[in-house]
Amino acid sequence: MVLQSALKNCLQLSCILQAPKAGFRNTASGGLIMQSTSNDVYQNLAVEDWIHDHMNLENQQVLFLWRNSPAVVIGRHQNPWQECNLRLLRQKNIKLARRRSGGGTVYHDLGNINLTFFTTRKKHERMENLKLVVKALKALRPQLDVHVTDRYDILLDRQYKISGTAAKLGRTAAYHHCTLLCNTDKFVLSSVLKSPYKGLKSNATPSVPASVKNLFEEDSSLTSELVLDAIAEEYATQHQIDCHINLINPADETVLPGINNKAKELQTWEWVYGKTPKFNVSTHFDIAYKDSVLDVKVDMDVKHGRIEVCNIDLPEQWLPPALCSELVKNLTGSKFCPNETTALVTTLLRVCPQDGDLQSRWNLLCENIKMLM
């Protein structure tokens, strides 16, 4: 480990709440550097929320450093079906999280570091923060060609995006967080961030895809740990504080009261999927059954992640109309989720006529509908 153990300790945040300067040899600028000991994306996002809600940032600003095990993080008002390959995520057990700040979708793994700059709302300065990062990188490797664009991206070699930014402004506090690609699995990144879902119509914030490159590819000595330390050093210099990285355990309720509830909320279906702005799925698929191929049209309105309106257009008599309308009736109001749909259709099957052929058709139709989710 690059980090010197002598400089790290566990933080008593209660000190910070009551007496901001207690325990720290700060000067007037005031700053605090914290690093998470957890790689759980929900816990780390919960820490951001906690700091935003509870810490007094008047006298000191905070830099929070964190890394996550594989996860896809979408922006506050985005549509996960539009942004990523949910089937692949489920298959590979990659977590999906929705953050509270705006902006686009990112893929996180341990090679992608996250930096959050907390300030009062008045002192919120995204450009300055990004310039700090660039300065830190250049101090580490002067020959690196990195610069900040007006879209608040950091580009490597003038063409590859290595950092994306998002921000959240509250009443008195604000934060700006950004990623930094050190050594991420680009193959997984590009495959999970490609949505296979067709026919989606939505007002959700779209992501702007970009070619990416790892710092590691430019200079193989640039590890995540090295870069993290360099940024912490630069922050410490600019805030005129000691470069003292405080480790924080996001599961510790004594230091962060209420944190576990925040983490739990971020994992609920209602937050991750339910907060998707209203959208419409209008598509069709082919079903091959016993020497014939039929075209099925599906039109669904999804609000709060639940199917508000559902229309399935089947060739006549392929399924008894009563059965089809039963399916539509039950899908309405149900979550737009393959697992929920599986439970629903298998339960409904119990009260269907016990005809093998009929049941195969039913299962085939339902499998295809689930593919849309």
Binding site: D53, H54, G75, R76, H77, R90, R100, S101, G102, G103, G104, R121, K122, H124, R126, R151, Y152, T165, A166, A167, K168, L169, G170, R171, T172, N203, T205, P277, R306, N330, L331, T332, G333, S334, K335, N339, E340, T341, T342, A343, L344, V345, T346, T347, L348, L349, R350, V351, P353, Q354, Q359, N363, C366, E367
Partner: protein, 493 residues
């Protein structure tokens, strides 16, 4: 923040208002205004104020103030409205979140500067809102103030912080006017209270908790319970004895009322399908048959086999034994593994024993089944159960796992219970529910009392095609395999 608006969205705000007039002097430079404080707070439905409700409802005119979208900073002039946390007719307090707007990559929470009622939303979702233009109209009481109608385009957010903080006795504490009034009436110093709201704001709950601690009383949940006035107005430390010595209840000044509210949700998705299934099950004439099984020998056998299974990577519970014994029983009594058609014209004897195992998951009661138990060994059943259980707890059971069941066992005993009355899952004709294993005294063959491991089983069957005798004999056979596990060896295929 969103939770607050959900609570308020009943639309019955007008009936519940507890209104009070108050002149408030701000330490800020701006203005002195009197505020129309509308506290939509069920816990504040106080008897003494009921009279006021009638009075003020006649005088509910306030002034409509246009709350303009303040400067976001960074030279931004327009944003998109992404989510409303309130709707027209809702009450808001100062600092409550009104909406979420987005500008490029920044998501901004807009909070209210006033206490009042939302009268108009100027934008719908996904519309562009302009800085400096009205965002919402809020009705506040302005019988005295002219200043409220002043141009409220904000200078940099700094001024928010200045005039929104109240200085009380040298401490900066955040609390809405209603909360301050409650504190004042109870002679509580706000500085003594720890706020649990956002930014350490003091909430009504904090005051009530503080009062509860003071009297040492647990506040009664309903108005019918004995009313304990939280704090006598003139004293600060009442001893319990004093309460008794006091005169007959003071004007029920502040009985704390249970603030819960009925919540109605639609039944959707999987639960809706279950309703349909259970209604169909109701049409089946059920009869029940119960018995107790002595599992003393099985318990011992499992202890011996558990490590063997562990080595092979499988967790061995009692269920694989129960399932296998059931399958052996079904070989002798195949009518229990059958299905009746819709018109009760034909019985179909199913060849495969696909034994369903009821699982309690987050989604609800899910019943995946182990296929073809008749050709599986106990170990294979255990292994399959492990797979189904892990998929079940992740909510990821597939269609084939959940369909095709012919007979079901429900081990509710892992949660608790002895005898139950299980409901048959159509299109099956029988189901068994297993209670918990208890250690009970029983007599053995020599007339001695010994410690027996007893489990109760409750069967239900479709009386249209199954009779009591069949069920009883099946149960006896199943029971004999489990009470004497060695006998299973004789009949295993």
């Amino acid at each position: 923040m969103a939770a607050l608006s959900a609570v308020r969205s009943s639309g019955r705000a007008a009936r519940r208002l507890v209104c009070t007039h108050r002149v408030r002097s701000c330490s800020s430079i701006r203005f002195i205004k009197s505020k129309y404080v509308c506290v939509f707070d069920k816990s504040a439905l106080k008897f003494s104020h009921q009279q006021r409700l009638f009075r003020t409802s006649a005088a509910s005119h306030g002034q409509i103030v246009q709350f303009k979208l303040s400067d976001i900073g960074e030279g931004i002039t327009e944003v998109t409205v992404k989510e409303w946390y309130i709707k027209e007719g809702d009450s808001v307090s100062q600092f409550d979140s009104i909406c979420e707007v987005q500008s490029d990559k920044a998501s901004v929470t807009i909070t209210s500067r006033y206490d009042g009622i939302i009268r108009k939303l100027h934008y719908s979702l996904d519309e562009i809102a302009y800085v400096g233009k009205p965002l919402v109209d809020i009705e506040i009481d302005a019988s005295k103030a002219v200043a409220a109608a002043e141009d409220v385009v904000e200078a940099p957010p700094m001024s928010h912080e200045e005039h929104t903080h109240q200085e009380i006795k040298g401490h900066k504490t955040l609390a809405t006017p209603a909360v301050r009034r409650l504190a004042m009436e109870n002679n509580i110093k706000l500085s003594e209270i720890v706020g649990t709201g956002k930014d350490n704001r003091i909430l009504k709950e904090d005051i009530l908790n503080y009062l509860a601690k003071q009297t040492g009383a647990i506040l009664p949940p309903s108005p019918k319970a004995e009313i304990i006035p939280p704090l006598p107005k003139s004293e600060s430390v009442p001893a319990p004895a004093k309460d008794k010595a006091r005169k007959i209840p003071v004007p029920v000044s502040r009985p704390i009322v249970f603030s819960g509210k009925d919540k109605t949700e639609p039944i959707t998705g999987f639960h809706k399908a279950m309703v349909k299934t259970m209604n169909a099950a109701l049409k089946i004439p059920h009869f029940g048959y119960c018995d107790e099984v002595d599992l003393t020998q099985l318990v011992q056998l499992r202890e011996e086999l558990k490590p063997v299974a562990q080595i092979r990577g499988v967790k061995l519970s009692f269920m694989p034994f129960f399932i296998k014994a059931a399958s052996l029983g079904l070989l002798q009594y195949p009518i229990l593994n059958a299905s009746l058609d819709e018109n009760c014209q034909n019985v179909t004897y199913k060849a495969s024993h696909n034994i369903g195992v009821a699982m309690d998951t987050e989604q609800g009661l899910i019943v995946p089944n182990v296929k073809n138990v008749q050709v599986c060994s106990v170990f294979e059943i255990a292994s399959e159960l492990n797979r189904l259980q892990s998929l079940g707890s992740a909510g990821q059971l597939g269609t084939s796992d959940l369909t095709g069941g012919t007979f079901t066992l429900s081990n509710v005993g892992t949660i608790g219970g002895t005898y139950t009355k299980p409901v048959i899952l159509p299109p099956e004709v029988a189901i068994g529910a297993l209670g918990k294993i208890q250690v009970l005294p029983r007599f053995n063959g020599r007339g001695e009392v010994f410690k027996a491991r007893i489990m109760n089983v409750s069967w239900s069957a479709d009386h249209r095609i199954i009779d009591g005798a069949t069920m009883a004999r099946f149960s006896n056979l199943w029971k004999s395999y489990l009470e004497n596990p060695a006998s299973m060896l004789l009949d295993l295929k």
